[in-house]
């Protein structure tokens, strides 16, 4: 497969993948563009790999994590579930009817980048701990630990962030 063919066929899923990891459309585009430019330069080598797309996805993860390191001062304002939960339901206007998924996305976006990446790889890509470890260059135990902490943080935040009456699927 030529680079051009790969780009035409796989750009859309790669952008979606980057969107899930970065939680930011502009950042997702920047990360994918940088990665694809690098991939194009070295395409003969990448195309010769067993799973070129998997390799490109790993490049996206690495680019995002290094991007975060390089631009650590430009992080977005995190969602504060504690502050949100202290607002009386009567003062939230229509927010009581908030889609749980939206709240959860803000919570995920506020996770440390590595935890966020683990969550994305585990629940969006359905990768095993071992596969995630291979992507991130760490041990499976470290993946389990990151995932466990991330899910615990989300579990802790969701009941406090949403009124008990809130139901899913709005």
């Amino acid at each position: 497969m030529t680079f051009e063919e790969f780009l035409a066929a796989r750009l859309d899923p790669l952008l979606r993948y980057a969107m899930v990891i970065t939680c930011n459309a502009h950042l997702a585009e920047d990360v994918v563009q940088e990665v694809m430019l690098r991939a194009q330069r070295h395409w003969p080598r990448i195309a010769g790999m067993d799973a070129p797309e998997q390799y490109v996805r790993r490049m996206i993860v690495n680019e995002f994590l290094s991007w975060r390191r390089r631009r650590s001062t430009t992080s977005s304002v995190p969602f504060d579930p504690v502050a949100f939960s202290t607002i009386p339901a009567s003062e939230r206007g229509g927010i009581d009817a908030v889609d749980d998924r939206e709240v959860l996305l803000q919570l995920i976006a506020a996770l440390p980048p590595r935890q966020r990446t683990v969550i994305a790889l585990k629940y969006y890509e359905d990768l095993s701990d071992g596969e995630i470890a291979a992507q991130l260059g760490c041990r499976p135990a470290s993946v389990r630990s990151q995932a466990s902490r991330a899910v615990a943080a989300l579990r802790q935040a969701m009941p406090r962030a949403l009124a008990p009456s809130t139901t899913r699927g709005h």
Partner: protein, 327 residues
Amino acid sequence: MDTDLIREALTLQAERAPDSREVYRTLRLRVAEQDRRRRRTRIALVAVGAATAVAVAPFVSSVHWHRDTTTVAPAAGGGGGDVSTTELPRDFPLLFRPTWLPAGLHEASAQTKFDKSFASRTYVSGNANPADPRAGTLTVSIDSDEPLGDFGALSLPLRPEDVTTGQLESPRSAWLNWTPVSGVEVDILATNLVLTDADLEHIAGALVADDTRRNLPLRVNWWPDGATPNGATVPVVASRSATTVSADGLEVTLAPGAFDATGESLTVGTTPARLHRLDDGVLVLELAHGKGQLLRLTANKPPNPARPRITEVDLIRVAQSLQIERR
């Protein structure tokens, strides 16, 4: 928490990805620009290889030889009396070294550029003269947008997406380009050597910082107007290869070589010299330095056409200002 909710949320997030058709259009433009840039880089690399091959080759056949004899008295005010405002450093940092090289290679010289963050080291095969165009040579260079600091970038692993390798036909060469971080380029060029991509990657992966400084034994104390010194090359063994200080439009080289009888015969101070005028206006002044060494001053066309060309009087004045450290 139901992990299905996490999956649903992430799927919702994925649906908010940028429009791939827009990104595709932008990417195709950027890829085309990248291709153009890399073609230029490759052409420049070929030029480096060719320049290495002809570095001290005999003068080309288009030289007009003049056999009349002239004696030039030292120019008034010359002889190093006017010290240029651009002081050359007395030494320069090597900045890096490879901790692994293919067997049989020995360091020949190191190069620096005064006006930017650039360092280069050249190795030759066996006892070959690095100036011999048939010699096996390996040049490792680092070029950075920013001042080269602690070289932490060199400790980064070679990711395939950051490395490009290739082969050139003439002269037979293998090259590697590595961008460990944005703005830092590592180039390795092997000429007349049988090296694989794996060899070049092994060399790149074995680069470490080196704070050793190398002495610059050639001092130029007067420069023509506009000829700002910009770089130097210093050999490991002076008797084997050239020491060069270069400026815009001017190059001063101390190299092994025999003083021949061609060109205009001059005497600069008390030193016998020869002046060669090449067809394209290039002037070459050669002075015998003893011990089989030849001092060669080359005035090329200045990069800025508005600047006056360097004249033979300028060359003589530069020669008079030279100081060569005895080793």
